[in-house]
């Protein structure tokens, strides 16, 4: 899994509580082959999990992605899957993380729901 900037994520990053930011960032890009092999269709969700956490996102086809790689716009949903180890330089691994991906019928949590477990 890699996380990174997108135009829509950047345009919404000063209005993170808005529906537009949710639509722009709570998504997971997959290659066309992976999208098909997981039996996905537009609007379906995927569950991503690894040793650090799990998160449900809306799946999106991305012709520019190689197989076995997912891309998530940087932000609070992607960071559920990021660990705290910084390798002595202060910066966590926001890219190059191993995650398991599966189709799911579970809903994507909105931004308030995402943080409700943290005391928000």
């Amino acid at each position: 899994m890699i996380s990174g900037r997108t135009l829509a994520q950047g345009a919404g990053c000063e209005s993170k509580m808005s529906p537009d930011f949710f639509k722009a960032v709570a998504i997971c890009h997959l290659s066309e082959k992976d999208f098909k092999s997981l039996g996905l269709s537009e609007g379906r969700n995927v569950l991503l999990k690894n040793e650090f956490g799990q998160v449900v996102l809306t799946a999106k086809k991305d012709a520019g992605l190689p197989d076995s790689m997912v891309f998530i716009p940087m932000g609070p949903w992607a960071n559920v899957l990021v660990g705290t180890e910084t390798g002595g330089c202060g910066t966590p691994h926001f890219k190059g993380l191993e995650v398991e991906v599966a189709a799911t019928n579970s809903p994507v949590l909105n931004i308030r729901e995402l943080f409700s477990g943290l005391g928000a």
Binding site: I2, R5, E14, T84, C89, K95, F115, L118
Partner: protein, 439 residues
């Protein structure tokens, strides 16, 4: 209704490009239209619904209070803390950063910037090796070969290519895009790679190996390079090495694709060595694609104030810097700070989940114009005027050039600088009261 005025050549305070050709139409004290800015800059300058009042959390609910009450509560939290973290600083002015450093020294805290989760590894790599740099103007006017490595300016710095790099027309580069060779190195196709003459797709986490192979090829030691490195054929790497050596003026721009991946600051260290070695054959420069508009500025102000560019610990009586120990994510993961002031950044969104969870367990003061996930966990919330839109100040572009931010409209909110001074004055007042009570 007052007559509309046009503010010309204002600086956009969104990303590290600091585009200084923005025209803004103001009528009745409100921004009506923004010209020349990209989608990112326009959204920032036009703005949206703000936090309306200072707030303090009482019985689990944020309730409106006066600014002075918020300053006093913030000061009380910072004074009660053994080791407060003062984090953010990338989206405010250098003048506010100066006040923040004063406050960190006064309360004995750790001051860290968003660089720590962004180009922090670049800062460390540059400290190790030095930076063969240039201004963006030099790149525009002279560069005939440009490499974008692990960055996607088409989405993160949308006007970079047209104003400063691949598609810009300069004094000695009048043909613009046609006269340049553009190489993009990334793990995936991006909008930026679609504009490249040569796109090299590398395997994730193989930046260090690929840079090392290029160094061998540039040095004429290709015999030692494997047939395939990081998913790239040796022939393709040899082709790139030859293109780099043949450049009259080359520039490498790199992004979080290289700082956030395996190798982190060692990737930057290696890239700086490659560029230093290319200078034996040609003129070559390298530059990090800084994200927040003044993340360079907080680094500059901290460096000339304390000697260090980020992650500075003031709890020992003098500045101390040791990334991995004094950086925000590490401090929070170790539960080594007991309060936090978050300014001009949204730490809760941008930190790993476990790190954000650590913030939920300590008192948090937020200074920001807008509600965001950090607000949800904050105990004190202080709304501010927006630097670069409602307040003037100084900011550093990604190439280290200082530019003056303009004030476009008035604001009823205090500036970050005013708020920090309000908290600092309350710190002094509360300290004096405690001293008087003890006398």
């Amino acid at each position: 209704m007052s007559e509309a005025i046009m503010i010309k050549d204002a600086v956009c305070s969104f990303c590290g490009c600091l585009c200084d050709d923005i025209n803004v139409e103001v009528e009745d004290g409100k921004i009506q239209r923004v010209r020349h800015a990209c989608r990112l800059g326009s959204s920032k300058i036009m703005g949206h619904a703000r936090i309306e009042s200072p707030m303090i959390r009482k019985n689990g609910v944020l309730v409106a209070v006066s600014f002075q009450e918020a300053y006093d509560k913030a000061a009380k939290i910072l004074l009660a803390a053994a080791k407060p973290l003062l984090y953010g600083w990338a989206s405010t002015s250098c003048e506010a950063a100066k006040k923040g450093i004063l406050l960190a020294e006064e309360v004995g805290g750790v001051l860290d910037s968003t660089a720590t989760v962004c180009h922090g590894p670049s800062v460390i790599g540059i400290e190790e090796k030095g930076l063969p740099g240039a201004t963006l103007g030099q790149v525009k006017n002279r560069a005939d070969t440009i490499v974008f490595w692990g960055c996607n300016p088409a989405e993160a710095h949308p006007r970079h290519s047209l104003r400063y790099s691949s598609n810009s027309c300069g004094k000695f580069t009048q043909e613009g895009r046609e006269g340049r060779k553009i190489i993009v190195v990334d793990v995936r196709e991006t909008r930026t790679s679609k504009n490249a003459d040569k796109f090299i797709r590398i395997s994730p986490g193989s930046d260090y190996e690929v840079i090392s192979a290029l160094r061998m090829l540039v040095a004429g030691k290709g015999d030692s390079v494997l047939d395939e490195v990081g998913g790239v054929l040796k022939a393709d790497l040899a082709d790139i090495a030859a293109t780099l050596k043949a450049a009259k003026f080359g520039a490498v721009f790199f992004g979080l694709g290289i700082t956030h991946s395996r190798g982190r600051y060692k990737n930057i260290d290696n890239a700086l060595s490659l560029v230093a070695e290319l200078n034996s054959h040609s003129k070559f420069v390298i530059m990090p694609m800084r994200g927040h508009y003044n993340v360079g500025g907080i680094g500059q102000v901290l460096a000339w104030s304390s000697g260090y560019p980020m992650s500075v610990d003031f709890t020992r009586g003098g500045p101390y810097f040791n990334p991995g120990e004094t950086s925000a994510c590490d401090l929070l993961a170790r539960r080594d700070v007991d309060a936090a002031l978050i300014i001009a950044a949204d730490a809760v969104s941008n930190f790993p989940r476990a790190t954000a969870k650590a913030l939920a367990g300590i008192p948090v003061i937020q200074i920001d114009p807008y509600e965001n996930p950090t607000t949800l966990l904050s105990d004190v919330v202080i709304p501010c005027a927006i630097a670069g839109v409602e307040v003037e100040g100084t900011a550093y572009r990604m190439d280290g050039l200082a530019l003056r931010l303009r004030k476009m409209v008035d604001s009823s909110f205090p500036s970050d600088e005013d708020i920090l001074m309000g908290i600092l004055e309350s710190v002094h007042k509360q300290r004096q009261m405690t001293a008087n009570e003890g006398a």
